[in-house]
C-alpha cells in the first residue's frame, strides 16, 4: 500500500496558510503583551535607568570646565614640567583671555569644579578675574602675561596650583573615582595617595561594609528564632506577636532612632539599670551611642523586620512532618534541624540577608544621628557632597562604586546560592 503525503499546505478557512495565520496571531499576542507592559517599562526607563545612567555619566564627565578653559588646557599640555618650573607664557596668555571674555556663570561653575582639585582656586580666580577685567577696561596690553598674573597674586607663581590642572584637563576623567578612594593625580598625572590628613573615604568604605555585614548577621541571629516561633505558634498567638514585629516597622524612622539615643546614652535607660544593678560603676558608664556601636545597635533593630518577614513566610510553608520524619528515621533533633529544616529556610535567609544588606549599605539618617565620631557611613558623604560642596561628580562616583559593589555581591550570591533560590513569600 502506498502512503500519499499531501504536499499541499494546510489552509485555514479563509485561505491563509495555517503557519502564517498562527504566526500572525502570535505576533498580535506578543504586541498586546508588550503594550500591556509598555507603561511599566517606560516608567522603569524614566525613573530608574535614565537617572542611574545620568549618574554614571556624571561620574566621568568634566566637559563643562574643558569648554570654559579649552585653550588654556591645550597650552597646558605642552608644558614640560621637568624643564620649566612654571607653565609657559602661552598658558598664562590664554587663561588671561578666557577669564576676561568668558561667560561669568560658566566661569563660576568651572571654579566650583577647580576648587575640588585644589582648595583656594575659587577666590584666587575670582580676585584675578576682577583685576584682569580692570586691565582690559584700561585697554592695556600686558608685556608679560605671566608677570601680570604673579603681580596680581603671588599664588600664580606656586606650581602646586598649576599641577592640579592635571585633574581637570580631560573631558572624560576617572579622577572622581580615584578621589572616592582617597587617591588623586600628582604633577605628572599619575595616581597617588591623597594627603594623609584628609584620607577618610577608604576607612568609611570599610566601615560601611563592616557595619552592613554585621547588621545582616545580627539580624539573622535575632530574626531566625523569632520567625521560627511565629511560624510554629497557633495563628491567634502568632498574629498577636506579629504586631510586635510590625509595629516598630510602621513607626517613624526618626522616632525609633531618637528612642535608641534615649536608651543607649550614658545617662540613659540601659546604663542607668546597669549602674543600679551594680554591674558597672557610676564612673564606668558605657559609651553605646554616638559611635559605631550605636549605629550597629540602632540599624539592627530598624532593619530586623526585613529579615523576619521573608523568613517567616518561608518557614510557614515548611511542613512540620519533615522534622518528625527525620527524627523518626533516627536523627537527633540538632541533626534534623541542621540537615532537614535549615536547608529549606535558605530561600528565606537569602532573601532577608540580601534585603537587609542592600538597605544597610546605603543607610543614611540613622548613622548620621547616632553615628557620632566613628559611626557615619558612606551615605552621609554622598549627602554632604550633594548638598554642601555640590561636587556631584564625586557623589556620582561614590554612588557608582556602591552600585558596582552591589552588582558584585549579587553575582557572588548568584554563584553561591543561585538567584532562583530567593523567596520573599
Amino acid at each position: 500500500m502506498e502512503v500519499t503525503i499531501s504536499t499541499a499546505e494546510l489552509l485555514t478557512t479563509d485561505g491563509i496558510p495555517l503557519k502564517q495565520s498562527l504566526r500572525k496571531a502570535e505576533r498580535r499576542n506578543k504586541l498586546r503583551a508588550f503594550l500591556l507592559v509598555f507603561p511599566l517599562l517606560l516608567f522603569i526607563i524614566v525613573t530608574f535607568v535614565m537617572p542611574i545612567g545620568d549618574m554614571l555619566l556624571r561620574s566621568v564627565d568634566d566637559s563643562q570646565i574643558n569648554s570654559v578653559f579649552s585653550n588654556t588646557f591645550d597650552e597646558y599640555k605642552n608644558w614640560d614640567k621637568e624643564a620649566d618650573e612654571l607653565p609657559p607664557e602661552e598658558v598664562y596668555k590664554s587663561l588671561f583671555f578666557e577669564l576676561a571674555n568668558g561667560d561669568k556663570r560658566q566661569i563660576g561653575k568651572a571654579l566650583t569644579r577647580m576648587n575640588y582639585a585644589k582648595s583656594g582656586w575659587k577666590s584666587l580666580i575670582k580676585k584675578t578675574t576682577r583685576e584682569i577685567k580692570k586691565i582690559v577696561k584700561k585697554g592695556e596690553e600686558p608685556v608679560s602675561y605671566k608677570d601680570t598674573f604673579i603681580k596680581i597674586n603671588k599664588l600664580w607663581a606656586d606650581p602646586t596650583y598649576w599641577y592640579s590642572f592635571n585633574q581637570m584637563v580631560s573631558e572624560r576623567s576617572s579622577i572622581y573615582y580615584w578621589n572616592a578612594i582617597d587617591r588623586t593625580f600628582d604633577k605628572d598625572g599619575d595616581v597617588v595617595l591623597q594627603d594623609e590628613k584628609r584620607r577618610m573615604y577608604m576607612n568609611t568604605w570599610i566601615r560601611t561594609f563592616k557595619v552592613s555585614i554585621y547588621v545582616t548577621i545580627f539580624c539573622l541571629i535575632l530574626g531566625f528564632p523569632v520567625a521560627h516561633l511565629l511560624a510554629n505558634l497557633p495563628l491567634r498567638y502568632s498574629n498577636l506577636l506579629m504586631i510586635f514585629v510590625l509595629l516598630p516597622f510602621w513607626t517613624s524612622l526618626l522616632v525609633r532612632t531618637t528612642a535608641w539615643i534615649v536608651m543607649l546614652q550614658q545617662n540613659g535607660v540601659i546604663n542607668g539599670i546597669l549602674v543600679w544593678l551594680g554591674v558597672i560603676s557610676d564612673d564606668g558608664r558605657i559609651q553605646m551611642v554616638y559611635n559605631e556601636a550605636g549605629t550597629l545597635i540602632a540599624m539592627t533593630q530598624i532593619l530586623l523586620p526585613f529579615m523576619i518577614l521573608p523568613l517567616y513566610s518561608v518557614m510557614r510553608v515548611i511542613p512540620k512532618s519533615h522534622m518528625r520524619a527525620a527524627q523518626n528515621l533516627g536523627a537527633k533533633p540538632a541533626m534534623a534541624f541542621w540537615r532537614v529544616y535549615l536547608p529549606q529556610t535558605i530561600p528565606g535567609i537569602s532573601a532577608g540577608g540580601l534585603l537587609v544588606f542592600v538597605l544597610a549599605i546605603g543607610y543614611f539618617i540613622t548613622p548620621e544621628l547616632v553615628g557620632g565620631k566613628d559611626g557615619k557611613l558612606i551615605g552621609s558623604w554622598i549627602a554632604y557632597h550633594l548638598r554642601t560642596t555640590l561636587n556631584w561628580g564625586l557623589c556620582a562616583a561614590l554612588g557608582g562604586i556602591l552600585l558596582g559593589i552591589m552588582l558584585i555581591f549579587y553575582w557572588l550570591y548568584n554563584k553561591i546560592v543561585g538567584i532562583d533560590n530567593i523567596k520573599l513569600g
Binding site: G108, N115, M200
Partner: protein, 367 residues
C-alpha cells in the same frame, strides 16, 4: 464624573490663579521659619502671597531646579557660602542694580550694604544676588547647676578637660569648631579669620587644640541634640545654635548660660532663584524682609540678631521687646561688647577650604 472630582476641578480652577502667584520661599523650617513667617510674611502687605517650604540647606535642590528648568522656589534662605557659590554659578540671579535702587536704606540714609558693613561685615559676591537676614552663632552653653564651684567662661575653659572634667558636645562638621580652637590657643577672636587665611599651619594648630578634648567629646549632628545632651547631663557643655538655647531659656524656662567669647557668627541670606516664576513679587518681598524693622521684628520670635546694624537700636528702643515682656537684648549675639569677643565666620574662606577641612575633620573624628 463623580461629585468629588467635579468639586476638585472647580476648586483648582478657582484657586489656581492664587496659588500660581504665591511667592515660594524655601527655608530651614522649625522655629526659624516660624519666626520668618511672623516677622516677614505676617507684616507684609499681602501675607497670603508668601508660602514657606522646608528644605535641608545646601544648593543641591536649587541646582537641580535651575538645571532642569523647572524652578518652583522663588526665594531661598541660604548660608553665606551658598549665597556666594549660588551667585557665582548663576543659580541665583544677579540683582545688584535692583538692590542698589530698591532696598530700603537705613535711618541715616545709609545704603543696605553700608548698614551691613557697620555690623562688621565685608562685601562678598553673595551680596549681588541676596538680601541679608540674620546673624546666628555657634555658641557654647552650659547648665549653671552642673557647676557648683567655678563656672567656665572662656574658650580656653572649653578646651581644658583638667580644669573642667567632663564631656563636651560638638558638631560633626568643622565650621565654627576650627575658629573656637584658634581662640583657645590664644588668637584674638577678631583676628581668627585673618590668621586662618594667611598663616601656614594655622589649621594644624587648631587640630592640635581639638586633640585635647577629643576623648571627651560627644558629636551631635542635629540642632536639637545639644540641648538634650546638656539637659540629660550627657555632656557638661556644648556648642549649639544660639537660637535653640535662647528658645529653651525664653520659652521652656531653662536657665542656660552662654560663653559668648569665641562665638562664631554666621550669616543668613535670602536669594532670588534664577528663573523664579514670580520674580517681581519675590523682589518686592525681598525689599520688605530686609528692612531694619522687619529684621528687628524677627528677634521677637527667635534670638537671632539683625544683620543690618540699624536693626539693633530698634530692639533696644522697644525693650522689653520679646513676647510676654521678656528682654531680648541679653540673648542677642551681636551687641557691641559681644561682637568684640566674637569671630565673624569668613564665608569666602570656608567655600574655598570647607570640603578639604571637613574631610580632615572626619578623619580626625574617627581616629
Amino acid at each position: 464624573m463623580s461629585k468629588f472630582l467635579k468639586t476638585f476641578l472647580f476648586a483648582s480652577l478657582v484657586f489656581a490663579p492664587f496659588t500660581a502667584s504665591a511667592v515660594t520661599v524655601a527655608s530651614w523650617g522649625g522655629a526659624y521659619t516660624e519666626s520668618q513667617q511672623k516677622a516677614y510674611a505676617d507684616t507684609y502687605s499681602d501675607p497670603s502671597s508668601i508660602v514657606f517650604e522646608n528644605y535641608n540647606g545646601g544648593l543641591g535642590e536649587v541646582r537641580a531646579q535651575v538645571e532642569s528648568g523647572s524652578v518652583t522656589w522663588d526665594l531661598v534662605d541660604v548660608l553665606p557660602s551658598d549665597a556666594i557659590t549660588g551667585c557665582d554659578e548663576g543659580l541665583f540671579e544677579d540683582i545688584s542694580s535692583e538692590i542698589a535702587a530698591n532696598a530700603v536704606p537705613g535711618p541715616d540714609g545709609e545704603s543696605m550694604a553700608e548698614d551691613m558693613e557697620n555690623n562688621g561685615l565685608e562685601y562678598h559676591s553673595g551680596w549681588d544676588c541676596c538680601v541679608p537676614q540674620i546673624f546666628w552663632t555657634y555658641v557654647v552653653f552650659y547648665d549653671p547647676d552642673a557647676f557648683p564651684g567655678e563656672k567656665p567662661n572662656s574658650m580656653a575653659d572649653f578646651f581644658d578637660t583638667e580644669k573642667f572634667p567632663g564631656k563636651r558636645g560638638i558638631h560633626t562638621w568643622a565650621t565654627g569648631i576650627i575658629e573656637k580652637a584658634m581662640v583657645a590657643d590664644g588668637v584674638k577672636p577678631n583676628a581668627v579669620p585673618t590668621v586662618l587665611a594667611n598663616q601656614t599651619g594655622a589649621i594644624d594648630r587648631a587640630f592640635e587644640v581639638m586633640d585635647r578634648i577629643k576623648d571627651d567629646v560627644v558629636f551631635w549632628s542635629a540642632g536639637s541634640q545639644p540641648l538634650e545632651l546638656v539637659k540629660s547631663g550627657e555632656v557638661i557643655m556644648s556648642v549649639a545654635y544660639n537660637g535653640r538655647v535662647g528658645a529653651a531659656n525664653l520659652a521652656e524656662g531653662e536657665n542656660f548660660e552662654y560663653i559668648w567669647e569665641g562665638q562664631v557668627l554666621d550669616q543668613e541670606y535670602l536669594c532670588l532663584t534664577a528663573g523664579a516664576p514670580n520674580r517681581e513679587a519675590a523682589l518686592d518681598f525681598m525689599w520688605h524682609a530686609s528692612t531694619p524693622e522687619a529684621q528687628a521684628e524677627q528677634a521677637k520670635y527667635i534670638t537671632y540678631g539683625p544683620m543690618r546694624a540699624s536693626g539693633i537700636p530698634i530692639i533696644k528702643a522697644g525693650e522689653p521687646f520679646g513676647p510676654g515682656g521678656v528682654e531680648i537684648m541679653p540673648h542677642m549675639p551681636n551687641t557691641p561688647d559681644r561682637l568684640a569677643v566674637s569671630i565673624v565666620s569668613d564665608p569666602q574662606w570656608w567655600s574655598d577650604y570647607g570640603a578639604e577641612i571637613n574631610e580632615r575633620y572626619a578623619a580626625w573624628m574617627a581616629n
